[in-house]
Amino acid sequence: MFLKSLKIILFFLLAAVIYGAFLYAPLAKGLGEYTRVLYFHVPTAWITVTAFAVGALFSGIYLKNKELKYDLWAEAANQLGLLFGVLATVTGSIWAKMSWGSFWNWDPRETSIFILLLIYAAYFALRSAVEQADRRAALSAVYDLLAFVTVPFFVFVVPRIYSSLHPDPIVNTQGKIHMNGKMLLVFLSSLSAYTAVFFWMLKQRIDLIGIQLKIKQLEN
């Protein structure tokens, strides 16, 4: 019951965010209409990181107590991470085209998200290469954690070596885009709405996994 009403609230919240992003929020001074993509790009990028972190957490839990469901949860979280990662790449690429002139120019931020997608594509390639469920779970959990410890190197090392045009990922420490109250309101509601969407989607997958496991158990 609670979840059902949450779903409806989420629907209206997202509708409001879309309206707000295109019509309500004013433009930042000196920047064009394209900056509105900000309200979708930053949340998707944030969800990507969150999803992979949640995936790594589940992988760690799997290795600790070897219950197959955690491996499947990790897979679900990483799938969502990959999905949002693609969305973040596409929105970011549109932004790059408008402000830097080309869709793709190997800016360190673009490189890091590309590598991130590559890592998780490799994660799924590994999963498809192992048939036995518990072995697949252990191997992919190890790879997930291994990938997770190397990700900070992309975030911190690569941009230090090659200078980036990308605004600082923590919004408003450098103040590249100054947000006024209305903009901040839309931005923060978009961030929380997308975060809620992610956790709602993850919850759906986790429930589905629970049902699938139960069916398999009954079959045996």
């Binding site: 070897k66 048939e131 036995q132 469920a133 518990d134 398999k216 045996n220």
Partner: protein
């Protein structure tokens, strides 16, 4: 040395291999694992020896009432099976020296020579294992399994590839060994079963 297996089950990819096996065995006995081909005898052997984990259930070894911790169990185990190979490119001696040293044995050379002689491999110590015939390889595996005088000996298919002389020798060794050690054997052969005291049927 006493083995207690409680309600062990193993699934591979959601498919159940066996369920809720419970049994006990002590030093001085031979436990035989029986079952048709593909029933999971080997899987049970690998689980009992801690090479792989069961899906559920527990296996404990205890000596004089104190339980041996799982990480120390390999010191007490000798294992021989068709899927446990020695290093083919190295000579028999190089293999056995490596295994003795890594197991932390002292003064192992006389023991190696004595076992090599017992199993009729004297004079072939410095030949690469890949030049051995399959029967000789099986004999060498016995040398490897008995090298550290283990408390528990796992033998999967004791007679595979052996000639009559070899089989007679192996029975003699196993018969003597089980007097005061625990012998665990996977087999379907009726001759092998003469050694067995406790039997576990795998398929249900």
């Amino acid at each position: 040395m006493k083995l207690t297996a409680e309600k062990i089950s193993k699934n591979f990819a959601e498919k159940s291999i066996f369920k809720n096996l419970t049994f006990e065995a002590e030093s001085g006995t031979c436990l035989a694992v029986l079952g048709p081909n593909g029933s999971g005898k080997t899987t049970l052997m690998r689980i009992l020896s801690h090479l792989i984990l069961p899906t559920s259930g527990s296996i404990t070894y205890s000596q004089n009432g104190t339980t041996i911790r799982p990480e120390h169990i390999f010191q007490h185990i000798g294992f021989l099976g068709p899927y446990l190979e020695l290093y083919q490119d190295l000579s028999a001696m190089e293999n056995l020296e490596f295994f003795s040293k890594i197991r932390g044995l002292k003064d192992f050379a006389p023991r190696i020579f004595q076992l090599m002689e017992q199993f009729g491999l004297k004079g072939r110590e410095d030949d690469a294992v890949k030049t051995y015939s399959s029967g000789m390889k099986q004999r060498l595996k016995y040398v490897f399994a008995l090298l550290h005088e283990p408390q528990i000996l796992f033998v999967d298919e004791p007679r595979s590839n052996l000639d009559e002389e070899g089989i007679r020798l192996v029975y003699e060794v196993l018969q003597q060994y089980k007097q005061n050690h625990l012998l665990i054997m996977a087999t379907n052969d009726s001759d092998d079963l003469k050694l067995a005291d406790v039997k576990v049927q795998v398929n249900v």
